[in-house]
Assembly symmetry: D2
Homo-oligomer: 304 residues x 4
């Protein structure tokens, strides 16, 4: 497979479509990003790296961090984790409280905000310094020691955290969050503020294309079953209220973030990351969605 | 891969677990089925057939027929189909009306009752005799000319169709159903009453493991993209409010029916059908779910 | 109290406000009504009649008929009636199915469509000819022998009954409707098509201002308690999703219809009916709402 | 009217019914109340006081304080208040977030928790010391200078405020709360912790039976229209998801609290307060509901 040529073709075709979208504006750190940025990185499970566009520039990974937090907690708590959070798609926007009320404070899945807050609560119960733990994990799986969060973004997130505090207090009222909510939201905000390039993120996601084995150290961080299950959750829940559409058009397990990044994998074959900050109305990168759709269409295969 | 041994192992292990469940009782034709029935058929894309248990006995495929109806309509209406029905998981029980009201009569996906009624309405607009068309399609893809519906089941379904009539009239009130509702429900009831054996159903599902090409005639019934997309919809929407759990534990696109059947595929590898009439509270076969979970666990791979 | 002068003042003030609204257009019989029509009739519990504007012209009473159907059924079934229908406001539009699903087919109250369908089902269980029974009741309490339904309106209603059929089949699927749905919808459509003038309707509503005693015959049709309870239901549930606003601004128990009529009572004092076909977005007459608000404001009293 | 005899009769009849219920247990200050307590106080608009049972013992008025907060804010903000909170019944439990999400952070009415938090936010914008303001108001209208909050209850409420914090942060995320949420919840908790006897509370509610005029000073605190409108809101929204049932059975505007108190009025006639700490599943006092039902039944009149 000539991935270099494929990526170049996808890149040019997406550019030619002149897709519109809206940049996230709720904090200045996201609002001020150059909206023309666009990059794609693909890394095969043999370690071959293919990149096109702005792939060496850091961006805010935002909700994509939810997958890493899950990957840290899951091997420790194992299947008992699922007593505190479900694995079903929510069919609702990312920050909805509606289902939570009907389901007694057990979030539908770990990739919506409510579920991610429970995962961060788990992290806080296990680790003294949860944000350092997640950072260390990402540095290890991406083989990039200098990955860090952006302090300014974290602070801005904190000043715009009413909705997440509402979610956290709501879950706490059902007893499914143990932390002090203020401290929990702080951990969560730092986690969302981690910055990576397309290539770094693709390196990190190689873990999920590689049955849970760290490509760079050969260490088994997740069992085969855990890796498969995280992929399943990404497939059914990784794109909020657009997960079905992503499965339909792209057919890869993946996760998007409001910073414009989308990370996905074809298990056994490759990881791929696209970044473009213009979002559609569901909060997913318009160019990112289209690029991945073209990628699997041109490839002629996906998980399906 | 020694599928014969694998199936035998799964079969024995499931039997040993003594799983409970409830047989569907709303019509006598389902209620009177021997609840100890249990069979598994797997067919590879090379055509090798492996069977264990009650695989040569007809059962009512019920909602699994929704996939065939979709496979008939989709290549004709192409992407315009999605103006009338979505591709997102519903996060609700199979016969829920709740989302429909918030979404103006466009069902979330074609594999819940509301969406399947719209698909049947499409069939009725295109074909004079929609139930014959679906039967012909199934006979062709399963290479089994004698497949038919059960008249008694169809009549029983008709006498228990209040909820489906409610769904149909509701969608019609938004203009998204054109047929006379009584006639539509009749078509739909016959479609649900089709009877097949595990092996016949596995033969028919080979289509979705085989990129849309009829294994027995080499005819391309679905484009590669259409086949992939139907698999994506099965993955995210094939098990009602348990689709996430099925993706999580099994990791195969599939569809279940209230008659106790589950049909699934590993694209490029095989189709597999399990039948056992005892259902869990979500309406999916308990033994079927467990058998497929064990199957992909023992195999060590799934789509993820 | 100089009601004549009061009504004249209210009438002129409403006219001067030039209130907008939309006429109901789903059937020609409503769409073709002259939208400038506007009349107010008030009758005291001493029998004094005050009228201004188009008070002697028949209009389609539509949902106001729900109160009469309730008044026929309640004294027969007594408190057992409330096992089949609740007395709580729905907080949803008049034809919503959402709550019904969460509440197992027991409608929130008898004045929304779902609840009224259950009441009509009760009527059909008790009376051979339910529509005649309701008509007889209205003729008696309004002291007007020639009140009748409009055949053309009833037929039009029948051809636009998908939503109501959806409600009926939905309730039937929970076992809370016994009738054949087609026949039930026919009874219901005729009931909604009854035509009365403002004055006739005010005479009929005198029953609810007069503790359940027919003013014209002195017959006790409802016990004091039943009359009080029907008024309570009108107060909390008579205006769909605008019941709170009507209580807030007007402060009288009442019921509106999509034909533009509103009937209300001040128990012990008077009944009052306003008719103007222009509706607000909740389906209540804009001039009617304003007229009654001005009436109780100028009067200086309401039930509160 | 021999109110003395009437109250005695109601009191004895309720006692004889041996009604069950559950005491509120989420904080020790409520859990430790003697559950056999039961008192009724009625005060006519002429100032005649009638009492039976434990009417001189302080209890926690809890949500009944919402009516006083509303009565302080409404005459200041006038009709502009309703841009921030609605007047429609919610049809949901007192602390539900569901509707809030569909209605963009504007609570349905000021007598559910979400709406009361907005009212407290208004208080905090206007007054430097909102809890003192509310206390002063209650002291004035009840003609009882020593009314105060219970510090222990307020502190306990604060340690059990996750759900209310969730509501407040949620509304704040829509911009409809301006206060710091921690401070807002503190004000709100103190307000809920005010303690009064049946007789004191009946004196205070005389305001709403007396067209907004303070019976003890003759000062007009609310206009006639404001008083009528607060009564209308109590009627349609004062009992959470049981408002319709209270209107139906009792027929008086009123408000209940989880401390077991219910305060109600018959405008122009009397105010009445019942206290008994055993609650039904909707959170309303079982003996209180029954006592008021018997009262209006025996009286033979209500607002309806």
């Amino acid at each position: 497979m000539d991935y270099r040529h494929l990526l170049e073709e996808v890149y040019q075709e997406v550019l030619s479509l002149d897709l519109k979208g809206t940049i996230a504006t709720y904090i200045p750190e996201l609002a001020n990003v150059d909206e023309s940025k666009f990059g794609i990185s693909l890394i095969t499970t043999q370690g071959a790296v293919f990149s096109v566009g702005n792939t060496e520039e850091k961006f805010s990974i935002q909700s994509i961090s939810k997958v890493f937090a899950l990957a840290v907690v899951y091997p420790i708590l194992k299947e008992s984790l699922w007593e505190r959070v479900g694995v079903e798609p929510s069919g609702n926007p990312f920050n909805s409280l509606i289902r939570l009320e009907n389901e007694n404070g057990v979030p539908r899945n770990p990739l919506i905000n409510s579920g991610a807050l429970v995962i961060t609560d788990c992290l806080r119960e296990i680790f003294e310094n949860p944000i350092d733990t997640v950072l260390e994990f990402i540095r290890k799986v991406s083989n990039t020691p200098d990955i860090d969060y952006c302090e300014a973004t974290a602070q801005s997130e904190l000043t715009h955290s009413s909705r997440n505090k509402a979610l956290a207090y709501f879950i706490k009222s059902y007893g499914n969050i143990k932390s002090d909510v203020e401290e929990l939201i702080e951990s969560y905000s730092y986690q969302c503020s981690i910055e990576m390039t397309c290539t770094e993120l693709a390196r990190a996601f190689l873990l999920f294309a590689n049955t849970g084995v760290n490509f760079y150290t050969n260490e088994e961080l997740l069992t085969k079953s855990q890796s498969k299950r995280i992929n399943a959750i990404m497939q059914t829940c990784g794109f909020y209220d657009e997960a079905g559409d992503f499965a339909f058009k792209v057919g890869l397990p993946g996760k998007s973030g409001v910073g414009g990044g989308i990370a996905a994998v074809l298990p056994g074959k490759f990881s791929v990351v696209v970044w473009s900050p213009l979002l559609n109305e569901k909060g997913n990168s318009t160019k990112g969605m289209k690029a991945l759709e073209l990628l699997t269409t041109k490839l002629g295969y996906s998980v399906f």
